[in-house]
């Protein structure tokens, strides 16, 4: 997106507009099914956390698509202009070539993929190597002019975001396999990735932010779970790339019991939701108004959570101690007997593996991203000697380690939220209120997501440095994969957080009754 748009609008609006721009109709030959029937799928996903007045969980989920559709219609005009302004043209033919190949590859698998690929790849902001498009010429030509095609792809992708959730892992594999044939960027592109991914993504580049945002769903929670499981199966059934076999996020996430905790949390959330509903039906008059007011208050911290703007401090290089400290304090504020021990161990493990990979070089400074320029220019000089030194650690190893760490940390985060839910339901804390807890939990969510983001950057930085001798078609997909799964992680965490809302509402219900 062009920078000129940024200051004028709030993030939320910008987000919406971007999304709309992708909705601009322009069917794509590559993937005809994308346009059909997936609008409603996409809607709840898109709407979720970008709007301050988040749709309360307690209301019927079916409402979401409808509402979103009306919005779609009303905004189509403005979106049209967004496209013609050429915001996407900025990314050049690079992303476009990727997309066309990608969508051709995955047309049958799921439409969300092309969207996310496009997002991820353009977010990297890699300049288009001239030879890039050569291999995909054929596909391109089928699609008419590049410009309209580009827009078309976006349309296609955005309209099918509902599917994107579950497809994320398979997606990265597609990116990888596609990438191999497409990207021939070489070192130039690599350097660029190194520099650009860091700041582009860290600064909340709209593209990436969107990718992240799109993955967030609060209104179709069970979908998250179901699709995560489906994805697991799909991946087991059709493993498509070497790296994917080694580092399969979905399976690892399940291995760390992330899915089970999510499932259990969802059960509790659903039951609380039902209880609150039934209580509301028995109330009337002032009593009802009071409770509704309190319920409204509690929703606020759940709708204001915004992570992408969180300036992830690049200087922070403490092996996660700051994170654990922050998390522990927040957990203590909940006044529940839960601590950050497990998460602390996971994060330590992750940082240990990072420093292990970086060790042969200049020790810890290497992983500090305090000054990217410096790090990277230094990396350039040392590229050759280093790469030989650390031959024992292949880029695939780093990638595997990154995916494993992300999956573990995410599973532990979900577990943490699940435990919080159980403890909240177990005993009502006298020291704090549900509202306070809601605020604290939203803070915890931010802390967790920030750490995920930080961690993914450390791993990709590692990849860029240690893989500097690798070909672009080897390295790029790996880096993309890490970022993709990081955003996947963040959305899991945010979804789990949203599941806590009904639980807190149930507690409120009790207090409400006590008052009366």
């Amino acid at each position: 997106m062009s920078d000129s748009e940024r200051p004028k609008e709030s993030e939320g609006q910008l987000e919406d507009q971007e999304m709309e721009s992708q909705q601009t109709p322009s069917p794509v030959a590559d993937s005809p099914t994308g346009m059909l029937g997936s609008d409603t799928d996409a809607a709840p996903v898109r709407k979720t956390r970008k709007r301050p007045e988040n749709k309360p969980l307690t209301e019927p989920k079916e409402e979401a698509p409808e509402i979103q559709k009306t919005e779609d219609d009303s905004r189509k005009k403005s979106s049209e202009s967004a496209v013609t302004q050429g915001g996407w043209g900025y990314w050049g033919s690079w992303g476009k070539s990727i997309i066309s190949t990608a969508s051709a590859t995955v047309a049958t698998v799921g439409q969300g993929i092309s969207q996310a690929i496009e997002k991820a790849e353009t977010s990297l902001g890699i300049p288009s190597p001239v030879d890039l498009s050569a291999q995909v010429k054929e596909e391109e030509e089928e699609d008419g002019s590049p410009k309209s095609k580009n827009a078309g792809e976006e349309t296609d992708g955005a309209s099918s975001l509902g599917g994107a959730m579950g497809m994320f892992s398979s997606l990265s594999s597609v990116v990888q396999s596609t990438g191999k044939t497409v990207i021939t960027g070489g070192l130039d592109a690599l350097e660029f990735i190194g520099k650009k991914t860091m700041d582009v993504i860290a600064e909340g580049d709209p593209g990436f932010k969107k990718t992240k945002g799109l993955m967030i769903t609060t209104s179709t929670l069970s979908q998250v779970l179901r699709e995560a499981k489906e994805r697991e199966e799909k991946q087991t059934a059709e493993v498509s790339s070497d790296t994917e076999k080694k580092a399969h996020y979905g399976m690892l996430f399940d291995e760390y019991q992330g899915l089970s905790h999510l499932e259990a949390l969802e059960i509790l959330s659903r039951e609380s939701e039902a209880k609150v509903k039934s209580v509301l039906t028995t109330m009337s008059g002032e009593e009802l108004a009071q409770l509704k007011g309190e319920l409204g208050q509690i929703k606020v911290p759940f709708s204001l959570v915004e992570f992408d703007e969180e300036e992830v401090e690049e200087k922070k290089d403490d092996g996660g101690t700051e994170f654990v400290k922050e998390l522990s304090e927040a957990l203590a504020d909940l006044h529940l007997s839960t601590n950050a021990d497990k998460l602390g161990r996971s994060i330590k493990k992750a940082y240990d593996s990072i420093s292990e990979m970086n060790r042969p070089a200049n020790g810890t400074k290497q992983e500090g991203e305090g000054n990217e320029e410096e790090v990277h220019s230094r990396a350039e000089e040392e590229v050759h000697s280093r790469a030989e030194e650390v031959k024992r650690c292949t880029v695939e190893d780093i990638h595997s380690s990154a995916i494993r760490s992300l999956a573990e940390l995410t599973a532990r985060s979900i577990e943490q939220f699940h435990k919080v839910a159980e403890l909240i339901l177990h005993y009502e804390s006298q020291e704090t209120t549900a509202l306070e807890q809601a605020k604290t939990l939203s803070q915890i969510t931010i802390v967790l997501c920030r750490e995920i983001s930080l961690l993914s950057k450390k791993f990709t930085s590692c990849l860029t440095t240690l893989g500097a001798n690798e070909k672009g078609d080897v390295l790029n997909p790996l880096i993309t994969g890490v970022f993709l799964e990081a955003s996947n992680s963040a959305s899991y965490i945010q979804d789990a957080f949203q599941l806590l809302l009904p639980v807190l509402e149930e507690i409120l219900k009790h207090t409400g009754q006590k008052y009366c």
């Binding site: 087991t236 070497d242 089970s260 031959k391 080897v474």
Partner: protein, 212 residues
């Protein structure tokens, strides 16, 4: 890690009877005498083979404490098997079985296979509940019965696997509707790619070659 079926299990019973220890012994083959109290539910998973088929057991190990009961009940639903555990050295844990059973039957599907387990069989000297009593209770309520020791691992495998066998038989008999996930059974992915974790070496080799 493809499986033909996935069975959801729950482990229930009074606090301190050794539910978490049974799970740990089954999944990790180790015994940990001192255990934190389980909060709500914890999880374990293991692959077993029955009739040449890979079956994944997804085990929900629930908190035994009374105060967690309302929460843990929520987790019963959708379990294909339950291990109802008591401690042979504490009669009260045996006396509470009826309550547990009622609870389980009420909050789960009627076809759920229930295995009654008298745990801590290694502590013969402190035994308060005779094996015959356990057998009688199981017979009366249509349960499978076994005495186990999470400490010595005696019968632990058998307890989990026999339960799975029973479920498997019910599937063969058509008692379970395997397409209804509320029964706690899930059919695994169709294509068994057992080598999923093994390869990946190709990419590694490529990378290795590239850097020299």
């Amino acid at each position: 890690m493809a499986y033909a079926y996935l069975f959801k299990y729950i482990i229930i019973g009074d606090t301190g009877v050794g539910k978490s220890c049974l799970l740990l012994q089954f999944t990790d083959k180790r015994f940990q005498p001192v255990h934190d109290l389980t909060i709500g539910v914890e999880f374990g998973a293991r692959m077993i083979t029955i009739d040449g088929k890979q079956i994944k057991l997804q085990i929900w190990d629930t908190a035994g404490q009374e105060s967690f009961r309302s929460i843990t009940r929520s987790y019963y639903r959708g379990a294909a098997g339950a291990l109802l555990v008591y401690d042979i050295t504490r009669r009260d844990t045996f006396n509470h079985l009826t309550t547990w059973l009622e609870d389980a039957r009420q909050h789960s599907n009627s076809n759920m296979v229930i295995m009654l387990i008298g745990n801590k069989s290694d502590l013969e000297s402190r035994r308060e509940v005779k094996k015959e009593e356990g057998e009688a209770f199981a017979r009366e309520h249509g349960l499978i019965f076994m005495e186990t020791s999470a400490k010595t691992a005696s019968n632990v495998e058998e307890a989990f696997i026999n339960t799975a066998k029973e479920i498997y038989e019910k599937i063969q008999e058509g008692v379970f509707d395997i397409n209804n996930e509320a029964n706690g059974i899930k059919i695994g992915p169709q294509h068994a790619t057992t080598n999923a974790t093994l390869s990946g070496s190709q990419g590694g080799q490529q990378a290795g070659g590239g850097c020299c």
